[in-house]
Amino acid sequence: MDSSLTLFEKVWRAHEVVPETADTPAVLYVDLHLIHEVTSPQAFTVLRERGLRLRRPERTFATMDHSTPTRTEQIFGGAPITVDAAARQVRELERNCADMGVELLGLRDARRGIVHIIGPELGVTQPGKTIVCGDSHTSTHGALGALAFGIGTTEVGHVFATQCLLQRKPRTLAVNVRGTLPPGVGAKDLILAIIGKIGVAGGTGHVIEYRGETIGALDMDGRMTVCNMSIEAGARAGMIAPDETTFRYLAGRPRAPQGAAWEASLERWRQLPSGPGARFDREVDIDAAALEPMVTYGTNPGMVIPIGASIPERADDQVLAKSLAYMGFTPGEPIREQPVNVVFIGSCTNGRLSDLRAAASVLRGRKIASGVQMLVVPGSQQVKRDAEAEGLDRIFIDAGAEWRESGCSMCLGMNGDLVPKGHYAVSTSNRNFEGRQGIGARTLLASPLTAAASAVRGRVTDPRELF
């Protein structure tokens, strides 16, 4: 294959049904369409109104995660879903999938979980695929070398009806990461630092390819954490070239190719990485060895500092002032030692097994501070079972945390798992927007290590202090 092509360009070209012209966008084929209960109902309605069916139900895959309860008795014990409208969405997805022949991993399915966790986990996410979902964190799947991006509900309808989307080709941005991540600094700190560097709009109009030795050294869970937050830098998609780590991860997964098909797939996947002559529209370099644990202090993910730093002071910056007023922070004071009321471990950013292991490594033999509420929500039922098999659930429960069923939970609080008004939450999720975790909730984004350390001390804590 042409050595001047990027990973993105190769996947894009292979999916052009009709290339773009000056007057019309490309018609791009979608290999895999993931759907969930919140952004699909109106798209099913449009199909019915126009008398259409799904063109490729077998390329469509549904689960429920955003508004589902995380209390065991509400999923398995017959206790009602407390949020009425959420219960209605769950029923509507069940009905829509049954009517339209879509495979649904429903509320009690052992394979259910957050859509961006179960795609890779089941092996439906594969290198070189185009993957879309009515959810901006679809970028997660790019960690396996797929071109994966979030779409709106109207586009969900387009994919239902035609298995295609009209798209203009985005530009490319290479983020080159060199150096070894220091102890206590992980994939979450890396992506927060990248967002801090390029800004929340820095990737707008671009697909990011994360490259370099540091990325190659990350395990798949870490790579997914990095690609997950591409959208927080404004980029619709983030990609990482598939390599032996990717293939080892996928081998034997239930929906991955098997036998001769596996060998043939490997051969194709090995052709995907950007060639030596590939050019990107922009490039940014990051030195991983210089990083510290990162934590946000404001109301978007770009408002982020190393944990040892102080909250910025900029007298003439109205937006910063508004944001700090919301957070109840004083410019110039250290972020460390700020009080913490709630700690949330979970989400499609940090709800995988290695994230739970990291949090548990801090909590083992410790208790969370009195007055702190800590919620640990595995990203999928499979992650939950794996964690329980290792005894991680006991570590969390013994430390005083709540151990829940999988779902989006407190990442966006649609299911009633909310941070109370004015409370400070150290959260491993991806968005610290005003009100994201509850009206008036104050979110500090951090890694699982930092979140767990902060739970132990009831204050924002550098996890390296507890090693």
């Binding site: 109207t154 298995q163 609080g413």
Partner: protein
Amino acid sequence: MEALRLLRSRTVVLPVRDIDTDQIIPARFLTTTTREGLGAHLFEDWRYGPDGAARPEFVLNRPEAGGCAILVAGHNFGCGSSREHAAWALRDFGVRAVVSTQIADIFRNNALKNGLLPVIVEPDVHGWLLEHPGAQVSIDVQSTTLTLPSGTAVRFALEPFARYCLLNGIDELGFLLARESEIAAYEARLGSA
């Protein structure tokens, strides 16, 4: 989709950068299974206090905001989640165009599919608009120009196909459905690969 050719309106100004879709429409209103009625909750937590009473100082609650169809907002409007509910809420409220120096990708796509026009202008024009809330502005989709009260007209970029759809009030689904033979041919190639 309702066509949009020429828009003349006073502006309403939200001079805040990085306004995310969680502010435009908070997640607790996403449990709806229809597109209608979301305008009532547009910017809910900025418009209303904890007791549900309207905050009189918030721009959208001021009498002069009534009937304004052009929203001028800070850099990077609509970042965050892919929820199309944000575009639906703005449309339902009566907004037909959003003007900024940058608009997030997914929001921009969603807006265009709902007859809501994203307009990117240069910082000088943006600065003027931010400083002159209520200015009478006209936006011409045909010529892709925005005209200030002084008569100064500036061009803005609009993807040609999106412009065609807006001018004619057609949605993209019809265009995609008409590509059936190309899609079928592509799928046949996939099958034989």
